[in-house]
């Protein structure tokens, strides 16, 4: 609060509080003290929060990472005769046009209909920003007011009326890190994950990331002016899936002012297209609390490492971890040192912080008071589904045999019971192998084999009773087999799920 004694020049402050207007006045005069979030950590350590709040006016923050929930709204203008676009493609990448006649939204992850995941919406956007032309192809059913049914033409950014980047979810405050307990390589949106906890990947820039420096969203809110891929953009709300402290932002900015240094199309092998988006947000240091917030350190920013080896929504937590550990390049998992890859670029995030700092110092960029706050509490709900069918609902009884069962005995069981798969277990029912009717037939034809443990498959592919049937189906397909034993956590056989069980399920639906 201010208590004015006499004229404004002699104002006396009861406590150290600044307003956005005052800071903007200083920016205009060229006297504002602007530092990056990186520099602010040391300043607060040296001067304390009170002292730093007196000294510093603005702290710049930055992030640069793959942000799939991004895209551009275009208005192409009208052709002659006019067309009401029903379907539209830019360089063979489809955009959404279920709105007015020549408006469309091109999402960055949409893939090319001819090139597949090698080329997508992000690439079209990058080419346009680089000044190139792209091919526009549209189709329609034709109306009295929009008679044209098809158009093919070339467009560049100069030709369109609007090209507004509007990103529903950007600038994740923090993100769950990823690893992989399974025995195969996983290609994910978190990068390539090596088998048996071979590596860890993480996203986000930690202590310099915008929302971590304003964790109560006091200064970042609706209407906050930001740096978006080189352009002046705005926060237009909380992002989708906003769930503090995993906060997100919805942002917009004019594509025509953007620069490919701060936005890049990317392809995550085996997953698809995304776009690296650069965001910088200036944080006004209104008081000591804001100074303390912007002093946040990587070690205070916690997240979890999740196991992507389990293909479920509820991926198990492998361990808790903070950004300092992640950025060190190595973390410990089950007593072993595992190497870590970031997926966001600290180097470009830093460049953004410095660029934004320079723009503010030169008086080219002013800060804003949010028009409205974004929620500090918000829930991220799972999808409501009609039903989740799990393996135990559809599995059949398994006919188990012991390893010393003779081949003759096994062949009798197969014929009498009309089954094709016999899990081999010990006396406690613990799985040790599996034989199929084909294995038995082969053994009979060849001769010289006595017991089933001589011919059984020992590395058995299995599922858990609580796994969704979709997972069982994908395992059957991936390994080109027709049944999976269902086992509990102690490897005891509870049943068998076969392709026939799955066909029955689909026939019922």
């Amino acid at each position: 609060m201010f208590i004015y004694g006499g004229d404004e020049a002699n104002c006396v402050k009861s406590e150290n509080v600044k307003t956005v207007e005052e800071i903007n006045r200083k920016i205009k005069e060229g006297s504002a003290v602007v530092v990056t979030a990186e520099e602010m950590k040391n300043i607060v350590e040296e001067l304390g929060a009170e002292g730093a709040a007196k000294e510093v006016d603005v702290v710049t923050t930055g992030t640069f990472g793959a942000m799939c929930s991004s895209g551009v709204f275009f208005n192409f203008g009208h052709s002659d005769p006019p067309i009401k676009m029903q379907k539209i493609w830019l360089n063979d990448v489809e955009a959404y046009t279920g709105i007015a006649a020549v408006d469309a939204y091109l999402g960055v992850t949409q893939i090319s209909e001819t090139l597949g995941i090698e080329y997508g919406g992000a690439h079209v956007i990058e080419e346009l920003v680089r000044g190139k032309e792209v091919e526009l192809k549209a189709k329609s059913y034709g109306t009295d007011c929009y008679p044209r049914k098809e158009i093919i033409t070339e467009i560049s950014l100069e030709d369109v009326n609007q090209a507004e980047m509007i990103n529903p979810r950007n600038a994740y405050q923090r993100y769950k890190a990823a690893t992989n307990s399974s025995n195969r390589i996983l290609k994910t949106y978190m990068g390539t994950l090596l088998p048996n906890y071979g590596n860890v990947t993480f996203a986000g820039t930690g202590e310099i990331s915008p929302l971590n420096n304003d964790p109560e969203y006091r200064t970042i809110g609706i209407g906050t002016k930001i740096f978006l891929c080189g352009a002046e953009g705005y926060v237009i709300g909380a992002g989708t899936q906003h769930s503090p402290p995993f906060g997100t932002l919805m942002v917009k900015g004019d594509l025509r002012e953007m620069n490919t240094e701060y936005m890049r199309a990317s392809v995550f092998p085996g997953y698809g297209v995304s776009m690296f988006i650069g965001i910088g947000i200036p944080i006004p240091i209104l008081d000591a609390e804001m100074a303390r917030f912007t002093a946040v350190k990587d070690r205070e920013i916690e997240t979890e490492i999740l196991d992507y080896g389990i293909p479920r929504r509820g991926r198990p937590v492998v361990r808790k971890v903070n950004y300092e550990e992640l950025k060190s390049g190595r973390v410990e998992i089950n007593g072993e040192e595992v190497r870590v890859s970031p997926l966001s670029s600290y180097s470009i995030a830093r460049k953004i912080m410095i660029e934004l700092k320079d723009r503010i110092r030169k008086g080219e960029f002013f800060i804003t008071q949010p028009v409205s706050r974004i929620p500090v509490k918000s829930e991220f709900k799972p999808m409501r589904q009609r039903e989740i069918v799990v393996v135990k609902n559809v599995m059949s009884d398994a006919i188990r045999i012991l390893p010393d069962t003779s081949i003759i005995e096994a062949s009798k069981i197969i014929i009498e019971k009309g089954v094709n798969h016999l899990p081999v277990t010990d006396r406690e029912g613990v799985l040790i192998g599996i034989v199929t009717s084909w294995d038995v037939a082969k053994a009979v034809a060849k001769g010289g084999v006595e017991r089933v443990d001589e011919i059984m498959t020992k590395r058995v592919i299995t599922v858990s009773p609580e796994d969704p049937v979709e997972l069982a189906a994908s395992r059957l397909e991936r390994h080109n087999i027709s049944a999976l034993p269902v086992i509990d956590s102690k490897k005891r056989v509870l049943g068998l799920i076969s392709s026939e069980d799955l066909s029955r399920l689909i026939a019922k639906r």
Binding site: G65, G191, L194, R264, P269, V340, P342, Y346, S347
Partner: protein, 129 residues
Amino acid sequence: MMLQLKFDSKTVKEPVISQTALVKKTLINIIRASVGAREGELVVDVDDERADEIIQFIQSKGVSVTKIYKNIVKDEDRCVHCGACISICPVEVFSFNGEYRVVAESEKCIHCGVCVGVCPLQALDLPKI
């Protein structure tokens, strides 16, 4: 120095690596091996200073030898320094420098090619030997 050795249907049956190690009294590190019934290919690492005499010896056994100069190449215009390659490389070719920029120590490269398929910016290339 890394060498690429190509074995034909005759030489693939001979213990050429052991002979070289014993006769030349040198250590040979097998980096990559693909050996079939009729032919084989190895990538090995040998002592830089004695590379020439080792190459001569291996060639005398009928095995063709090519020196590997072309290691992994990073396109600096494409790279955004995200670091996706860092934890993937089995021999830690990639690391951050003081400025958080990804640098490649290409001389360590063993030509496995895993990083090429991992880079989201397609900034890595492994030239043909």
